[in-house]
């Protein structure tokens, strides 16, 4: 399953605004985080959460090709 993942802030600096990921069908948000965090370039990045279709998603949520998926590092608005 090919996923296109949006990256922001420090994650965007390292991975670019969009990173392509290939995961087995039925992979979850947790699987995606495990996959990306295991990459060497992610070692010094802050732990992110994931948004699916513009809503925060828990680790057990399943991903589908076509979802709008985003890596959300710690937010600092306001």
């Amino acid at each position: 399953m090919a996923l296109s993942v949006l990256c922001f802030a420090s994650w965007g600096d390292v991975f670019g605004p969009r990173v392509e990921v290939d995961l087995p069908a039925g992979a979850t948000v947790g699987d995606l985080l495990t996959h990306l965090s295991s990459r060497p370039e992610a070692r010094r990045l802050p732990t992110p959460v994931v948004a699916v279709n513009r809503r925060y998603a828990a680790a057990d949520v399943s991903l589908s090709a076509g979802d709008e998926i985003a890596i959300i590092p710690p937010v600092a608005g306001g």
Binding site: R55, Y56, A70, P73, P74, A76, G77
Partner: protein, 145 residues
Amino acid sequence: MRCAVVARPLDPAALLAEVTSPAVGAAVLFVGTVRDVNDGKPVVGIDYSAYGPMAEEELARIVGEAAERFGTGQIAVEHRTGTLGLSEASIVIAVAHARRAPAMDAQRWLIEEIKRRVPIWKREHYADGTREWVDPTAASAEVAS
């Protein structure tokens, strides 16, 4: 109710006027501004960037929740993105209510929820020329404004 993520300077007085009506007895405004120091380091400016579409949707959800929780639809919020200099406003929250206590309660709830949930990030520019993404979850982070 209205909220937006915008790339232009904010106008607090316009948002205040937007929420005022003869049915309200109190209107409150919160303005977050770029401060010249953070965590002990001299700051000369801040880049704000957003996951635009989700930021606007999450902001709208927060404003809708506040309206229900505090009993007023008289809420306007704007968050600015781009590069801001010292004293420039990054966020303006305007709330009006028949009574003052829930207006102030809503103001405080809104800024805390927005800081916690809206996908917006800031990269501070320091006087020494370095830049850094602010991570409020980092151990060294001061209680941020």
